[in-house]
Every structure is written in C-alpha cells, then in structure tokens.
Amino acid sequence: MNALLAAPFAVPLTGAALGILLRHHRSVQRVVTATSLLLVLAAAVTLVAATGDGEVVATRVGDWPAGLAIVLAADGLTALLLVITSAMAAISVAFARTRGEDHHELFHPLVLTLVTGVFLALTTADLFNLFVAFEVMLIASYVLLTLRGGAAPLRAGVIYITINLLASAVFLIGVALLYGQVGTVNLAELHGLVTTDPNAQVGAGLVMVAVAVKASVVPLHAWLPRAYVHAGPAVTALFSGLLTKVGVYALFRLYSVVFAGDAALQPLFLVVAGVTMVVGVLGAVGRGDMRGILAFHMVSQVGYLILPLGIWTTAAVTAGLVYLLQYIAVKGALFLAAGAVETLTGTGQLKQLGGMARTRPLLATGFMLAALALAGIPPTSGFVGKFLLVLAAFEADHLLLGATAVVVSLFTLLSMIKIWNGVFWGDTTAAVADERRHIEGLPVPAGGATDTPDGEPTATPPASAPRVRAIGLIAPSLAIGITALLVGLGANALVELVTPAADALIDPSRYLEVVMRP
C-alpha cells in the first residue's frame, strides 16, 4: 500500500525520461504517456478505496528516519484529486493527439513532467517538497506555453512566467523564514505552531500568498486570462484541470493542517472569495472569444472553490469538494469543446461563428451540458455542488456571500448563453460553412489535403480519417458532459464519497498522527 504513494510521481517521471530518450518515435511516446497516466489512475483508485473511511496512508521516502525523511501522505482529498486529475490529463493528451498538437518531440515528456509536479504536490506532507513540486509543475508549464512560438504566446508566456517565478521566490522566502523560526517544514509538525507564534505567521503568510497567486485568487489573478488563451487548446484544457486546482488544494491543505482552521483568517477568505467570484465573472463580459470568456470564468470559479475556507463547517467543505471534483472535469470539457470549435472552424471569435448546433449537434450537446454544469443548473453535477455550498453559507449566516454566489451563477449562465448564441445558434457563418475544408486540411498521417490553391475542395472528402478526427475532437467534451449529467442525477453517491474527506480536513488529527509516525 505504501509503495502506491510513490507511484503517482515516480511513474510519470520515469515516463518523461523515457519520452526524452524516445523523442523520435512519436507513437512510442504516446504509448508511454498513456500507460503512465493510466497506471497513476489505477493507483489513485486503489488509494481512494484505502482512504474511503477517513484513513490516511503515509510513507517515508527512501526509508530515512522520521524527521529527516520526506513524508508522502494521502487522505481522502488527495486520493480523489489524484483520480480526477490523472483522468483529465489522459483526456487532454488524447485530445492533443487528435489535434496534432503533440507534434513537438518534447510535448509528451513535458506533459509527464507537469503531472509529476502535480501529483507530487498532491501527495507531499512537507512544505519544502511542496515548493519543489510546484517548480517541477511550473517549469514544464512555462515550456508548454511557449512551445508554439510566435509573438503573442511569447508575450503572454513572459507575463505568466514572471508572475509565477515571483510567487515561487516569495514561497521560498516564506519557507526560509518559517524554518528559521520553528525549525521544521513537516506539515504535521507545523500544525498549530503558526497560530501561537506570531513570528511564524510571517513565513506561513508569505507561503499562503504565493499559493494564492498560483490558485489565481483576486487580486492576484490577472496573469491567468492573459496567459491561458495563448496556449494550444489541449494545453489550456490540461492547465485548467491541473494548475490552479493544485493551488486551491494547497490552500485547503495548509489551512487545514498548518493553520489548524484558524478562525481569525475566515473573514479574509470570505471577502477574497466574494471579490474573486464577482471580478472574474465581470471580466468575462468584455471578452468576445470562447477561451477568453472561459478563462475569466476560471478566475470566478476559484471564488466558489475557496468559499468553504471562510465557512469551514463539514457541510461547507463537503460542498466545496463536490464542487471542486466535478468542476475540474466540467471546465476541462468546456475548454475541449472550445478547442474542437477552433480546430474545426479555425477561429474562436464569437463574431465569426454561428449555427454549429446544426452542423455539429453532438459538440453542441456536449458544450451545453458542461455549460449548464458550470452555471449550476439542475440536474447537472454543478447544481449539486453550488446548491450545497450556498446552503452551507446560509446555514452559517453568511447571507451576503450566499446571495453573491447565486447572483454570480446567473452571470455565469449569461456568459454561457452568450457563447451558445454566438457559436451554436444563429445563421451558419462562412467559417462554419467552410468547416469541411478545414478538417480536410488537418494533416492526416497517411494522405494529403485536397485543397487547390483557390481554396476549393477538388474532391469529395477522403472518407474515414477526417471523420475519425471529428469524433476524436467531439467525444471528450460530450462524454464529460453526459457524465456531469449522470453525476448530477446520482449525486448522493458522490456526496457520501466526499464526506469522510471533508471530515478529515476539518479535523486533521488522523493525518497528523500518521504523518508524524509513518
């Protein structure tokens, strides 16, 4: 069981090394990536079963004595997040393969390095190791973002890199100050020290601020919408499912274990969560492209995700975790649908799109289901999360926050309707009507495009390859959309699965015990 804890970062790291060695064999790289991610998924499912009753699994890396060793630990939250992140990573990579986005020889090794950092951040019980995990994850993301070349991705990339490097430096300085004050970086040993020692609060506070940058909490959010729209569509989906969510996870873990649920911080979290929701959703109003709107909504949703930190009751944390788990998949589905539209038509601008509900009804269905889940409309999974969250806010007498959450949901729905009207309804525009040409133009490994220089297709579409392409582009978002609907209908199972994890966050005594004596 304990060896399973090393698998989530050891397997993809080995896969990344293999991928670099096999960089001239794209198909072998694909197999390595898929195998690594599926192995992690299998390990994660086993961990979910092992931690289902509130149990915590921990191991000392390299069998060093306690105190020196880096401790890896998994409780319910870690295990559930491992499942959803590894699944989303696999889906994004499959989508990248369909789009041909993985043509660069380093794409697969970089993705595996990225997920190594993500999985290590989820499993580590050591503050300095958390810093290293963030760095591994971010360095891979810097390269993935700028891999496409070109002026705009470069400009966006430099903003993203600068902000995140600065946050990392702040994180490191925070760790140094904390270690200088209390002499340990083990999360369990830090438990409660921060609330009693004002000097330790400075270091821990810096760490929290740095993590908040990575989670893209307002007012530290401005880098996200600028950077994410310039990555390739599959990479955007990958980032949306993994990067900011790891930041949110770290906020939960640090608040639960290091700050011991310190009530003095809760008003701050409430204000920040409310402002994040509102600012993100208003930012989306000004955008006219699919991924730009979705990226601002990502900021807005972070507000919902950190709202439980400000309430910190079992009901609120359960709701927050239900929301987080379904949101990772739903947001990924929306970005994958946007990527499919961009690939099929060559543009993501709402003005140039229209009528795709007629030409691509299945893509429209997938987008609609995911969009309804994002806005929180019954009977989707998003409704369950939001309903429980708002209910918990009202029960804890945070009426203003609960109301804000409901109103922001309406604005979210408005944005989704804006995309829906722009892309899927209305008259079929030239870009959509020309779709067949674009999809033929997609490079097919064995065979060529049929365009003449005039731009007119010379022959009937080559039968199978483009159709397979289209299915590969549309299937991921449709599958996730249908899953969101099913989860929404059978939400009780998910709530019951998540409740022990929420209890373990509110009362981390078992986590502390196991991490202290692994």
Partner: protein
C-alpha cells in the same frame, strides 16, 4: 546582521531588475532574488555553527537541512535562469529584441494569434 543586509540588498536589486522590460534584465533580477532566498535559507539554519555536518565531526555542527534546501533552490534557479535566457534568445528571433511589451496592439488580443486549424505535425 550581515546576512540581513545581504538579503535586503539582493532583494532590492532583484526587485528593481524584475520591473525592467527586457527578458535578460528580468532573468538577472530573478538570479538576485534567488540568491536572496538562498542566503535567507542558509541563515535560517543559524550562522554560528560552522562545522560541516559530517557524522563524527567535532564541535557544533551546522544544520544540514537548510543547506539541502539551499542546494535544491540553487539548482532550480539555475534551471530557471537558463530557460529565461533561452526565451530571451528566442524572443530576439521572434520579436527583434528581448523587450516583450507590445508597443501598439493589446497583448492579450487573441485575434493577433489566429489558431491554425492544421497546426502541428509538420
């Protein structure tokens, strides 16, 4: 005290350079900021104990943990520096110089970066 002054100077210089426009200056800024963090980490272990932390050594041993942290941080900041300089090199090819600010257009206007449908698998 001397460590505090060094950290202060490095952090001030690093912050100043990060606020500059060119990627090379930013890279140098992050080098300085990384040094500030490393110095702070080393200082966190106490500067009084000077004997190397070998098993069986005489005298007051230095705390090995911050030294390990500092080494890791140095390796990471070295990698980051190399990447930033590579990016500066790349931006000279793509933009003409290493100044990434867009003088005319809006840097986050995606219309300036149309998605190529046939992108990839060249």
């Amino acid at each position: 005290m001397s460590a505090a002054i060094i950290v202060g100077l490095l952090a001030a210089g690093g912050t100043y350079l990060i606020l500059q426009r060119g990627i090379v200056r930013m890279a140098l800024g992050f080098v300085l900021l990384g040094h500030a963090a490393t110095t702070l980490l080393t200082a966190a272990g106490g500067l009084g104990n000077r004997v190397a932390p070998f098993a069986g050594a005489e005298g007051a041993l230095a705390d090995p943990l911050p030294q390990a942290f500092a080494l890791t941080a140095i390796v990471i900041s070295f990698g980051i520096t190399a990447f930033l300089l590579g990016l500066a090199f790349h931006s000279r090819d793509a933009l003409g110089d290493d100044d990434v600010e867009d003088p005319v257009g809006d840097a986050d206007d995606p219309a300036a970066d149309p998605v190529e449908p046939g992108e990839g698998e060249r």
